[in-house]
């Protein structure tokens, strides 16, 4: 299936002084001792893909929920800076109305299970158009055109726009969820195991598509995964988490090729190769 080229911010040569988009300051969210995430501190720059890896129960998803505005931290701040805007937004200092508007307008969240992110009872077109309608788009023809355009972007058959997501395969549902999130052209996207539960060939196609879209749209992404191969393919930088803390951080290739921390070494050596 051919995909039309998307107009987007062209980044030809690496911009070494990219502005900080998300400033995470000393985030702690604990459900009990060692359960949750603790003292997390990092910065995400515009156009950057940050991977968070670690085993199950290491606090990755908790951290993502805090970053994505779904769960208030016990301590610390999540500060969002719009490019070209001197003001900064402290995610948990603003009111709920503004926070939800921000999540709707400028951010996106891709769930691990597409059933959590999609409305399973309404058609694919309505799913893609929902965020546009929430922004006040009230023209049916334009909503439908946007739906078809985005279905083509994620390599779904635009003719299936009136089919409900139930009738789609798992990989197609995940692609539909990505289309639904990206249709409003968010700046920052959070992804929780976007390829979890998909078989390897479907996974490869999805990753390939994600990489293209991220580059074309100049997205900044926080990607949570336990799959190091996914992290290697998509992420520029990695945070390795264990028992709620970041044990190692750095460039993806550097961490995967030359792990320093004992846990990272274990993680890298545990990857199966056929």
């Amino acid at each position: 299936m051919s995909r039309p080229e998307l107009p987007g911010p062209e980044i030809r040569c690496p911009d070494l002084a990219r502005p900080v988009l998300l400033d995470v300051q000393d985030i702690t969210r604990l459900y009990g001792p060692g359960k949750g995430c603790e003292a997390i501190d990092f910065r995400l720059h515009a156009g950057e893909v940050l991977g968070i890896v670690g085993e199950s129960g290491s606090g990755k998803s908790t951290l993502l929920r805090v970053l994505a505005g779904l769960e208030a931290p016990d301590a610390g701040r999540v500060v969002y800076r719009r490019p070209g805007d001197a003001d900064e937004t402290d995610l948990y200092a603003i009111g709920e109305a503004r926070r939800r508007a921000l999540l709707r307008l400028e951010w996106g969240l891709v769930h691990q299970n597409p059933r959590d992110g999609l409305r399973m009872g309404v058609s694919a077109g309505a799913n893609v158009g929902e965020r546009l309608m929430a922004l006040g788009q009230r023209h049916y023809g334009q909503l439908r055109a946007a739906g078809q355009e985005w279905m083509a972007q994620v390599e779904l058959e635009p003719a299936r726009i009136d089919d409900v997501p139930r009738t789609f395969s798992g990989g197609m549902q995940q692609r539909l969820q990505i289309a639904r999130t990206l249709v409003t052209r968010p700046r920052l996207v959070f992804m929780d195991e976007p390829t979890g539960g998909l078989d390897v060939s479907v996974q490869a196609r999805l990753l390939d598509m994600l990489r293209t879209l991220v580059r074309q749209l100049g997205l900044s992404v926080v990607l949570v995964t336990h799959d190091l191969a996914v992290a290697r393919l998509l992420a520029h930088r990695l945070l390795v988490m264990r028992r709620g803390r970041v044990v190692e951080a750095g460039l993806t290739d550097q961490i995967l090729d030359d792990p320093q921390h004992a846990y990272t070494q274990l993680l890298v050596s545990s990857v199966l190769t056929p």
Binding site: S123, G125, A126, A134, H139, Y140, D162
Partner: protein
């Protein structure tokens, strides 16, 4: 009065409902919870509307009760008889003579006048319910004015049927703020809600919610720019009164395909026939 307090409910209950009604009138379209009482009939038969009627009824009020526009259906007849017995108020079937009209599924064709009160029976007061099952979430959506999902439902209609196929309980936006379910009236009646000179009260007995549209309030039906809101139209006229602009019911007259269209509002139809006679 047969051992009942005036209008069946005790005075404390009526006061509580009146307080909730004042709040509802102050915030048009907002669903106010109230302590619903058991009424001597099952939920779904108009217990919400009856509690509101009982609370606002005075000794000199004139009550009319309609069900699907008709004064002579079971629901209308029994609720009218109920208030005759427990309140002793005068009842009527003439729209213009009534001060309080309790209704199920219709707004009378005869234009309402200032000072009249229309009480609707509501089965499901939450317009977002079919899209968002969580009550906590729908309340938050109302509070933050997140109504984008209402259009998802209309979008689905057009995608499936080529036009907005919702014909009753068509969602409206009241005074530019709250999205409201106008109870299962046909969308034919939606334009009558807009800038109505009468006070419109809505009561849901099972869900224990009430809401209101004060007189002369702007009420818009939701739609798309390229699929504007439209009401039902008929090619036929009423077979009895020849009205061309009222809501018509199709009546099957025999088993050989015989049918005719008649006004659903019986009082309107009768008054037109008397005029022409």
């Amino acid at each position: 009065m047969n051992g009942y307090n005036f209008a069946y409910l005790d005075e404390q209950t009526k006061r509580m409902i009146r307080r909730a009604l004042l709040k509802a009138v102050a915030i048009p379209g907002y669903q106010v919870p109230f302590g619903g009482r058991e009424m001597p009939m099952p939920y779904g038969w108009g217990t919400g509307g009856m509690q509101l009627t009982a609370s606002i009824l005075g000794a000199d009020d004139v009550l009319k009760v309609i069900d699907q526009g008709a004064d002579d259906t079971t629901n209308a007849v029994s609720i009218r008889a109920f208030f005759e017995r427990v309140a002793g108020v005068e009842t009527t079937t003439v729209t213009t003579a009534a001060s309080v009209i309790q209704t199920r599924h219709r707004i009378p064709e005869t234009p309402l006048e200032p000072g009249q009160i229309l009480v609707f029976q509501v089965p499901i007061p939450e317009p977002l319910r079919f899209i968002e099952p969580s009550e906590q979430e729908t309340r938050l959506m109302h509070a933050l004015e997140e109504y984008g999902v209402m259009h998802v439902k209309l979008y689905e209609d057009i995608a499936r049927h080529g036009h907005i196929a919702t014909t009753y309980a068509y969602p409206v936006k009241v005074a530019g703020r709250y999205v409201m379910d106008p109870s299962p009236i046909p969308k034919f009646d939606n334009p009558k809600l807009d800038m109505s000179p009468a006070l419109l009260l809505f009561g849901a007995g099972r869900e224990k919610r009430l809401y209101a549209i004060p007189p002369y309030t702007r009420v818009e039906s939701l739609d798309f720019e390229d699929h504007p809101f439209e009401v039902q139209r008929w090619d036929e006229r009423c077979a009895l009164c020849a009205s061309a602009d009222s809501f018509l019911d199709e009546v099957i007259t025999d088993d050989a395909g015989g049918r005719l269209f008649v006004c659903s509002d019986t009082d309107y139809c009768e008054s037109r026939r008397e005029e022409s006679a």
